[in-house]
């Protein structure tokens, strides 16, 4: 339809990069409207290009919906070549649309949210840079180039979490995010090295291109593929905040709220899910790795949801909710339902971005207050924020009709029927759904309803946010409400458009058994029941018997404290892992200074001792002999010098006497 797009895919990531460079280099000298116009303009153009790419892809026959745009050879050695090349297929187009679309909305929102910030241009520069890296990640045609984006988003995350670096906690949170991500990256690097080598040794083709690996993957032994799959997933646990590396994400809320929405909810944290979906051809041959992913995802979904139950910081609740929802996505891809995982990724991008932006709107109105115990009753003063927030909450809870319902149900259904999932995974998912409904209801009630609990001064300032902030909320609310219908399951008598669109990408992937229609209805019923039971329970506790939560916290004090303190995982890591590392580095530092350098200095000292000894020997024996000769000559001279008294006549007398002696010898 638009064939020219096949040669200008590179513009999609390049545009935000250009915007970022302009804003970072000269942004501080530009007027603010120019700054954000550049930022929004570039990302919005990328969105338009993504839409064109989508239309182009759709216009192709389903089997051929893929093209590669190679710009130049990035690394080219004999027999090993990585191009700066972009892969466009249904999966990457969906991702590009989400990233640039949600990204554009959040850029727009930021104009209002960051309006008074002194580093305005830098903020937009970083945000654009993030968009570049994320688009590179989803569009790249090789693992190595994907890794560039993978690290790039990590960098932007670091920069934006610590954006207000004057507060040391923010800086520390940024560092924590980066270092924890690096632990994951270690796994990712090992994974792709192993894959690269395994494929290379088997086939003689040394490549990291998805296409090449895909066509040769069958030659690699399943054991190696399982190892690769698990190592790559280790990378995903870092980036996508799964057990055991999820700890950075709640801290990452230190960044500006739009950043939390874009990076730590909608896009970057889903990179791991995307990666697993992208590598579906590998995971199809590594069922054990899939089981690991499904179980880790299910555990994370459940575990994070329990922590979310009792948190009091509005963004912390949402952060644990994000961790939990990412767990759902991993259940999806882990049981082989890659389409379902990506579907939830998309709907989650809508409603979670909306929730964060809504919370940003609240925080903005509350003059920076984030503690929900000090909120309440905001609905009257902030109607748009409240409405959109509630819509997003209904979506995440899985209330029928809203976007999250379809995607969550899709995942749970597949978790039940898939050979890699099973009842245990499914059950954890359902329980997590109950918990999700509970904490979201709690959050909504405590924030927007009931009696205001803020102090008088703050209460006066509460106001609805400006248009630049509410329009993004409305856009996302619409998407959260209706975005799920493109993935309506077939039992409603329609085609699952979304799944069909993605199907070619996952064609070589996992074959899942077909469940019966009645089973599907039953499971859906259970999901709905789960959602409503959670809502009902929370409403009872926080809307009707409002004294109960405190009593319960008192009664189950130990459990409550464990939840409130997030099971002390951070403390555990801090003490044993960070502490261990600190001990090790101190030990090695001392080892280096004392033992290694000590040996060097010891050698030097030994050398000097030896020199001292030799010096003494030299003085006494060698020099002694020399001096003895010298002394002899000197004392002889002292005697003889007396002849040389300087009196010329003495010399003459000696000469005459000498001559006389000579003459007498000659003559006589």
């Amino acid at each position: 339809m638009y064939p020219c797009i096949e040669h200008c895919i590179w513009l999609i990531p390049l545009l935000p990069l250009t915007g970022a460079m302009v804003n970072l280099l000269i942004g501080s000298r530009l007027p603010r409207p120019v700054t954000h116009t550049i930022a929004i303009g570039t990302i919005a153009t990328s969105f338009v290009l993504s839409v064109i790419a989508y239309l182009h892809i759709v216009s192709l026959p389903p089997g051929q919906r893929q093209f590669i745009d190679t710009v130049y050879t990035w690394i080219g050695l004999q027999g090993f070549r990585v191009g700066l090349s972009f892969l466009v297929d249904p999966l990457s187009v969906v991702m590009a649309l989400i990233v640039s679309g949600v990204g554009s909305v959040i850029h727009l929102y930021s104009v209002g949210y960051m309006h008074g910030d002194k580093r305005y241009s830098r903020y937009f520069g970083f945000l654009n840079l993030f968009a570049f890296a994320m688009l590179l990640l989803v569009l790249s045609n090789s693992i190595l180039l994907m890794f560039v984006g993978w690290e790039g988003v990590g960098l932007c995350s670091y920069l934006l979490i610590g954006f207000w670096f004057e507060k040391i906690e923010n800086a520390k949170a940024g560092m924590k995010a980066f270092v924890v991500n690096r632990i994951g990256d270690f796994g990712f690097i090992v994974g792709f090295m192993l894959l690269f080598t395994a494929v290379g040794v088997r086939t003689g083709t040394w490549s990291l291109d998805f296409g090449v690996i895909k066509s040769n993957i069958g030659l690699v032994s399943p054991a190696i593929l399982t190892a690769v799959g698990i190592m790559l997933f280790v990378g995903a646990t870092g980036k996508s905040a799964q057990i055991p590396l999820y700890v950075w994400l709640p801290d990452a809320m230190a960044g500006p709220t739009p950043v939390s929405a874009l990076i730590h909810a909608a896009t970057m944290v889903t990179a791991g899910v995307y990666m697993v979906a992208r590598m579906n051809f590998l995971y199809a041959l590594a069922p054990d790795a899939l089981r690991v992913i499904a179980i880790v995802g299910a555990l994370t979904a459940f575990f994070a949801a329990t922590i979310g139950l009792v948190q009091n910081d509005i963004k912390k609740v949402l952060a644990y909710s994000t961790v939990s929802q990412l767990g759902y996505m991993f259940i999806g891809v882990g049981v082989g339902a890659f389409g379902a995982g990506i579907f939830h990724l998309m709907t989650h991008a809508f409603f979670k971005a909306l929730l964060f932006l809504g919370s940003g709107s609240v925080i903005h109105a509350m003059s920076g207050e984030q503690d929900i115990r000090k909120m309440g009753g905001l609905s009257s003063k902030m109607p748009i924020t409240t409405t959109t927030f509630v819509i997003a909450s209904l979506a995440i809870m899985g209330v029928p009709g809203f976007a999250g319902f379809f995607s969550k149900d899709d995942i749970l259904y597949h978790a039940y029927i898939s050979p890699y999932g099973g009842t245990f995974v499914w059950l954890l998912g359902v329980v997590a759904a109950v918990l999700t409904a509970f904490y979201m209801t709690r959050l909504v009630i405590l924030t927007f309803y009931g009696n205001p609990r803020m102090d008088h001064h703050t209460a006066e300032h509460v106001h609805e946010s400006p248009k630049t902030m509410t329009i993004p909320l409305i856009i996302l609310a619409i998407l959260s409400a209706i975005g799920g219908y493109i993935g309506m399951p077939a039992i409603f008598g329609v085609h699952n458009v979304f799944a069909q669109f993605l199907a070619p990408v996952f064609a070589s992937g996992v074959r899942l058994p077909e469940g019966s229609v009645s089973l599907e209805w039953t499971l859906m019923g259970v999901s709905v029941l789960a959602a409503f039971s959670g809502i009902g329970f929370a409403y009872y506790l926080y809307g009707v018997r409002t004294e109960l939560p405190a009593i319960m916290a008192e009664k189950y004090n130990t459990a409550y404290r464990w939840l409130l303190n997030k099971y002390y995982v951070d403390e555990f890591y801090q003490k044993y892992i960070v502490g261990g590392l600190m001990g090790l580095k101190d030990l090695l530092g001392v080892f280096d200074a004392r033992i290694i350098d000590g040996t060097v200095n010891g050698t030097a000292r030994l050398g000097r001792r030896l020199a001292d000894f030799e010096g003494a020997f030299d003085r006494v024996v060698v020099d002694g002999a020399v001096n003895a000769v010298g002394d002899g000559i000197v004392s002889a001279g002292a005697v003889l010098r007396k002849l040389q008294n300087g009196l010329v006549q003495n010399y003459l007398i000696v000469a005459v006497i000498g001559m006389a002696i000579l003459l007498s010898l000659v003559l006589l």
Partner: protein, 104 residues
Amino acid sequence: MAPAVTLTDYLILSGILFSIGVFGVLTRKNAIAVLMGVELMLNAANINLVAFSKFTDAGVVGQVFALFSIVIAAAEVAVALAIVISIYKVTRTIDLDKEDTMKG
């Protein structure tokens, strides 16, 4: 007729002169007197040269030598006296017993 003056007489004369010169050089304290002694020794040698020139068949070589010697002696005396004056200027004396700057 006076007895003929023989080579031996000349040699005796020059020996006496030379001895006087040596004596003067060795005993006088005054640098000028020492120089005069040196002159006597030189002239003793000149007498020898001339005498051998006359009494042998070596031609005039000896006499030429003597002339050379006289000229050089004159020059030498000039230099020597200049040195003496310089020494005097520095040390205010020409007493050789006081001049021991060449002491080792």
